[in-house]
């Protein structure tokens, strides 16, 4: 299943709705769905919120694979490299009221990968169903 959206916050709601419907139909547990939707929201918020002006008219593609004991999201967008090396510091969040999204993702996703290649950002989120 592939979803492709424009880089606008108004498409986040419909993306979450579609993913929720798919996971619900696959009888994924409600709590797991909630955790996944939190991560999708936070990741899309980061991608759209930090997109550079050169790429603001681009798209974000989400490829969803459900198989075996895992749910895998491969998310790709054309943009400049983002810095995800900064670890979450609650003092920084307290001061700037932002910067916690990736920290939340790392708490919920079983695996999280990021790679920048050929002007594209690639994210992989893996959720275990075990």
């Amino acid at each position: 299943m592939k979803i492709c959206i424009l880089k606008s916050k108004k498409y986040i709601a419909i993306t979450k709705f579609i993913i929720h419907k798919i996971l619900d139909e696959k009888k994924i547990a409600d709590q797991k769905i909630d955790n996944i939707l939190i991560c999708i929201n936070e990741l899309l918020a980061n991608i759209i919120g930090h997109t550079t002006s050169k790429y603001k008219d681009g798209t974000v593609s989400l490829l969803l694979n459900i198989g075996g004991d895992r749910i895998i999201f491969d998310i790709m967008t054309e943009d400049e490299k983002i810095d995800i090396s900064n670890e979450f510091k609650d003092s920084a969040f307290r001061k700037n009221y932002s910067g916690a999204g990736l920290y939340i993702i790392k708490n919920y996703a079983d695996e999280f990968y990021y790679e920048h290649k050929a002007n594209k950002n690639f994210f992989k989120l893996i959720f275990s169903l075990l």
Binding site: A13, I38, L44
Partner: protein, 111 residues
């Protein structure tokens, strides 16, 4: 299309409380609506002792939303207002995120 979110303000002048009923979800698509409400609260916050966010009908809050609670807290402190922010009827999912972001050390959270 924005994620569903309705916010109602109830001013309890007798008990000096403002209750904020949050109905729906707060995410990146709609958190500006919460920002508008927090600004409205600030206009009268000096006359109240408690600002209670009732999350009975709120399923999820994103990091953008949580950031606004800290922002409101800082405004209150900087203006030397006495009003304290509290959360009531917090579900497990929101509570878990609040703990991840260490909000439980700064706010009174009632499940």
């Amino acid at each position: 299309m924005l994620t569903n979110l309705n916010i109602e303000l109830i001013y309890d002048d007798d008990n000096k409380k403002i209750e904020v009923l949050i109905i729906g979800e707060i995410d990146y698509s709609n958190y500006e609506k919460l920002r508008q409400i927090t600004r409205k609260i600030l206009d009268s916050a000096n006359n109240y002792k408690e600002i209670i966010f009732n999350l009975k009908d709120c399923k999820m809050i994103s990091s953008n939303g949580f950031g606004l609670f800290f922002e409101l807290q800082d405004f209150l402190i900087n203006r030397k207002y006495a009003a304290k922010i509290k959360f009531s009827n917090v579900n497990n999912l929101i509570l878990q995120n609040m703990k991840i972001l260490k909000m439980d050390s700064e706010f009174e959270i009632l499940v």
